[in-house]
């Protein structure tokens, strides 16, 4: 079953709101007059929030990462793509770094690893798409994508999946690309895109009033877990992204009802350069 409406066998409803039916979908006004970090994630740990890391895998039993709920690997044989449970850990260290950063912000979130690296360069975009589709199907609330593709032939499908995720309440958090080429999915409006700033505070994040990059988070000389139980000091948007993923997990832990557009609004209202208590 596809996560995309036009590929689904489910009948599409007529999208309209009959007279007086507005009352039936009335929602309580739970937002405060001023959204603060205290309201957004004060006291939150990310408990109960399901986070997916689309990356190179996550090293199992790394002390700075902690428990990993599930690990699957996406592999490719010719045109056939397989997604199966996998215990081989991390092929590079990068996924472990992202997972550790997410845990450092949201220590009690649930982490699942979807390994999309290792199938060779040639099939990498197809593997990435399959991994993302799997994550959306499995109802993760936040998906960390410290990666991108430049292949235009996959952009449309990726865009459809990003929109499907948005409507299924899965927040995709994607690394922006600071090189002079067009790449995806970070450019899509249905994801949260992240670039780096030079501040050392893991909770300093900035809203960018000049998109397409929407947020900046710590991405310079970040100490992260790496292979073999070790650590490395890393720089790059790849490492800024999991900070925002962690913040999203905190907010959703406290306010699980938020949709992606509401969550993005909370990120904006609590950004260091927007919220007065940042």
């Amino acid at each position: 079953m596809s996560v995309l409406a036009h590929e689904s066998e489910e009948e599409l409803p007529a999208w309209s709101l009959p007279a007086a039916a507005g009352e039936a979908i009335r929602l309580p006004a739970t937002w405060p007059e001023r959204v603060t970090r205290e309201w957004a994630f004060g006291g939150a740990t990310g408990a109960g929030v399901r986070v997916c890391v689309l990356d190179s895998g996550i090293e199992l039993d790394h002390p700075l990462v902690g428990p990993v709920q599930r690990s699957v690997a996406v592999t490719r044989d010719g045109d056939e793509i397989t997604i199966a449970d996998d215990e081989s850990g991390d092929l590079c260290g990068h996924g472990t770094a992202c997972a550790g950063l997410i845990r450092s912000i949201a220590p009690e979130c649930e982490l699942t690893s979807v390994r999309v690296l290792g199938a060779g360069y040639t099939g990498s975009a197809a593997v990435l798409l399959a991994g993302l589709e799997w994550a959306i199907e499995h109802d993760f609330q936040v998906v960390n994508m410290s990666l991108s593709t430049t292949k235009k032939q996959y952009a449309e499908r990726l865009h459809e999946l990003a929109d499907a995720a948005y409507f299924k309440r899965a927040m995709l958090v994607a690394s922006a690309h600071n090189m002079p080429v067009e790449s995806f999915p970070w450019r899509f409006a249905s994801v949260v895109s992240v670039g780096s700033h030079e501040d050392g505070d893991p909770f300093a994040y900035f809203y960018n009033p000049s998109p397409p990059v929407e947020f900046f988070a710590r991405g310079l000389e970040v100490d992260v877990p790496w292979l073999g139980g070790g650590t490395l000091r890393c720089t790059g948007n790849s490492f800024a992204t999991p900070h925002i993923t962690g913040i999203c997990a905190l907010v959703l832990g406290k306010h699980p009802e938020l949709t992606p557009f509401q969550l993005k609004s909370v990120l904006h209202l609590t950004a260091t350069n927007v919220g007065s208590d940042g």
Binding site: L91, C92, L117, Y121, T122, N178, S196, G230, T235
Partner: protein
């Protein structure tokens, strides 16, 4: 179509060596600018899905050229597949990162900067800079500089690959080979026969369009 273009270009393009020199110059400048111990360009070999050392400056320059490893393992593989540049400083000791890097480069670096080599939507390979001085604090401006070098190396690598395709077309015989030889002969022909051949080609062009 690109092979046809390559075949025509084969007759007039310079030797592969010139493009390799450009690539080598790029890694030498990258090494100097970052005061690094080594810098290299790894080319993606589409046919085998491997990364191949194509140009090396500094440590390993003698023996690394031509060495290859799978395109989607390790840090270089990650950078290639995900198009994301990154910088790693090995502040701890003896992690698997060091061992992996040592196996591919022949020495144990304390740190690595890597950026994908992108031309339009294609990823051609990876630029690596190894062991910049660990006492210098890194900045995002240097990250941008790495991106600029990667861009330059990508252009050089693209030219090198075009020259190789052109040469393959020229040496391959068959109809593309003959097209390449015609282009080469026009390029070196005397004025009179060159003008006559170009007239003939123009007529052929009108006939086909």
């Amino acid at each position: 179509m690109s092979e046809l273009n390559a075949a025509v270009a084969a007759g007039v393009l310079g030797a592969e060596d010139a493009y390799r020199s450009l690539l080598t110059a790029t890694v030498e400048v990258a090494r100097a600018i970052f005061s690094a111990k080594a810098s290299s360009v790894l080319l993606l070999d589409d046919e085998t899905d491997e990364l191949v050392f194509e140009a090396v400056a500094g440590a390993g320059a003698g023996e690394l050229i031509g060495r290859r490893f799978p395109s989607s393992t390790g840090v270089a593989g990650w950078v290639l597949v995900t198009r994301q540049p990154l910088v790693l400083d090995d502040v701890a000791t003896d992690t698997r990162f060091s061992q992996e890097a040592a196996e591919s480069t022949g020495f144990v670096p304390k740190g690595l900067m890597a950026a994908p080599l992108l031309v339009e939507e294609r990823a051609l390979g990876v630029l690596e800079v190894l062991d910049r001085p660990s006492e210098s604090r890194f900045s995002l401006a240097e990250m941008d500089l790495l991106g600029l070098f990667a861009n330059q190396a990508a252009v050089a690598l693209d030219l090198l690959q075009r020259a190789r395709r052109a040469r393959a077309a020229l040496e391959g015989g068959g109809e593309l080979g003959s097209l390449a030889r015609i282009a080469a002969r026009i390029e070196s022909a005397g004025e009179e026969s060159r003008a006559a051949t170009l007239d003939l080609l123009r007529a052929l062009d009108r006939l086909l369009s």
